[in-house]
């Protein structure tokens, strides 16, 4: 690919997932990237290191993942649309600052290209083991927004959406991809820049407005603009002043931080459904595994089995509504995932007594769960 001093031309491109992610960020207006090399996310850093200086934007490799996300947070407070990208080990190191970004309501995109953990695990092999870490990784109460792409096209599209959600809700957003989707190359259709919706953060009109309260999603000032904003990860009042003695101040803050996402969950979560109104068997899947499910639907049809499919494009907040419909229609639900049961328990919780939920898990070696394996599971649980 010959790169130029502009955004990608509209039309069809053959892109690697990580490249598509990076190009999506550029369309979303990302003007600051800080990262640290890690397999299988390094292509994002490398691609942006080429592309961002061409566009007069900043890309820097930091000394570690904590510095990467911290620098991105500093840039965000200086008005940037900022991003970092990593994989499990780096995502673990970033948890401290992810909590800080929730607490300080800092818009930020964190791409986590999942590999096999725990710890160093299998560095080059795909997995889906960070779903619960993305939900609960940092301490305290918060509600993250976590998106799950299943193709290079969605690496592009959902990265743009991640930036828009981050700016709209003043919160960190995690793009939780996996090695398979990140390293595969596929057709990506790039729309005209003018057709891409880009959300800009709401700025305050005066320095007397509360920047950390008042409204559910308060306006966000940038430093250096005369607002005298005080930003802190400690409990603070609506003007940002550290206020750690009063239980009420903390309750109000914590409830607003969780509430601003939860109360709008139906607008945030995004799913793709197939045949959920009329099905014998339900499948809930996400990321690379969802690609196998489309083939399962065909294979099952040949055996006169109607599959209803809920594909989670948003993992958190969890799209309960659609899983509930699936549970009402299907007698049982299979949840195939490349971990040892993470979304499974969530589906079980939502399905309650409506449907029996069966896990199908595979970890190690980055081996995808094949359509044949999912079909075999369906046939097994049906008997």
């Amino acid at each position: 690919m010959t790169l130029k001093n502009k955004l990608l031309e509209p039309g069809e491109h053959f892109l690697q997932g990580n490249q598509a992610l990076a190009e999506g960020a550029l369309f979303a207006g990302c003007n600051f990237f800080a990262g640290y090399p890690i397999t299988p996310a390094s292509e994002v850093l490398e691609h942006l290191a080429k592309r961002m200086p061409q566009l007069g934007r900043i890309c820097i490799q930091m000394e570690d993942e904590m510095a990467s996300i911290g620098t991105a947070i500093g840039a965000s407070w200086a008005g940037a649309k900022a991003m970092t990208a990593t994989s499990g080990p780096g995502f673990s190191l970033m948890q401290e600052f992810i909590g800080y970004a929730f607490m300080t309501e800092t818009p930020l995109v964190i791409a986590n290209i999942q590999r096999q953990g725990p710890s160093t695990g299998q560095a080059t092999k795909a997995a889906q083991g960070d779903v619960m870490q993305a939900r609960w990784g940092t301490h305290g109460d918060y509600m993250p927004i976590v998106l799950s792409p299943n193709s290079p096209q969605e690496m592009f599209d959902l990265t743009i959406r991640a930036f828009n959600l981050a700016e709209k809700y003043r919160t960190p957003v995690v793009l939780l991809a996996d090695e398979i989707v990140a390293h595969m190359r596929e057709k990506v259709v790039i729309p005209k820049a003018c057709e891409i919706e880009v959300f800009e953060r709401k700025k305050p009109k005066s320095k007397n407005e509360p920047f950390f309260g008042g409204e559910t999603i308060p306006p966000m000032p940038s430093v250096g603009e005369g607002f005298n904003v005080a930003v802190t990860g400690s409990t603070h009042n609506e003007f940002g002043v550290r206020f750690t003695a009063d239980p009420e101040v903390h309750r109000k803050l914590a409830e607003r931080l969780v509430g601003k996402i939860c109360l709008d969950a139906e607008r945030i979560f995004d799913v793709e459904t197939y045949g959920i109104e009329n099905c014998d068997v339900g499948i809930v899947a996400y990321g690379c595994i969802s690609r196998s499910v489309y083939e399962v639907i065909e294979l099952a049809k040949n055996k006169d089995i109607n599959v209803g499919f809920v594909r989670l494009k948003t993992l958190w907040p969890f799209p309960e509504k659609f899983v509930k419909i699936l549970a009402e229609k299907a007698e049982f639900i299979v949840v195939p995932e490349m971990n040892l049961k993470q979304v499974f328990y969530e589906v079980q919780r939502v399905a309650a007594c409506e449907a029996k939920v069966f896990p199908l898990n595979k970890v190690g070696g980055g081996e995808i769960i094949t359509p044949e394996e999912i079909l075999a599971k369906i046939l097994e649980v049906r008997t």
Binding site: M1, T2, I180
Partner: protein, 180 residues
């Protein structure tokens, strides 16, 4: 229509790039294609593998299970992947690196010393991958020759563009001669 192609060889033989070029050409032709590659320790010096699934419909499952075409540039790659080759599949192999033809495989075999001729004509074995693409193009017409050439230009450093296009044409010539 669905074709599954696997390029396999040693790290440094450009197998991953060959797969990327084929996938890109398919997209230029308006087809659907997914390319994946083996990644990690085994891609360095030892086995390297690149897979392309091409179809007129959206390709969901991204990996090759039973392949229609196997391009093997090393004995090790051939031994490892020949089993997954469909009975009526096509095997293209580098006779310079592969001494033993597979006994089990009954389909069509094309054997030529791609690496040797690359070294002779261009001074570097690395051009074998693009010679193979030209060869593949002439034998099977999976995608248009025009798109493949466009994909080659789009994928190689511009200073090596001329050599790569010559390598591609050489591959086409070799195939024509072999077909007789």
């Amino acid at each position: 229509m669905k074709v599954e192609v696997r390029f396999a060889g040693l790290g440094g033989q450009g197998m991953v790039l060959a797969g990327q070029i084929l996938g890109k050409a398919a997209v230029f032709d308006g087809l659907f294609a997914v390319q994946t590659q083996s990644y990690g320790a085994e891609a360095r010096g030892s086995a390297a593998k690149s897979e392309v699934v091409i179809s007129d419909k959206k390709v969901w499952f991204p990996f090759v299970r039973k392949c229609d075409v196997l391009i093997a540039l090393s004995q090790q790659a051939l031994n490892k992947y020949v089993e997954d080759l469909k009975e009526n599949g096509v095997l293209i192999m580098d006779s310079g690196y592969i001494k033993e033809a597979p006994r089990s495989f009954k389909g069509k075999i094309y054997s030529f010393s791609f690496s040797k001729i690359a070294k002779e004509k261009f001074g570097n074995e690395i051009f074998a991958n693009v010679i193979v693409l030209g060869f593949l193009s002439e034998i099977l017409h999976l995608v248009s020759e025009e798109s493949l050439k466009k994909a080659v230009i789009d994928s190689v450093p511009s200073k090596y563009e001329r050599e790569n296009l010559e390598a591609f044409d050489l591959g086409v010539e070799i195939a024509k001669r072999l077909k007789g």
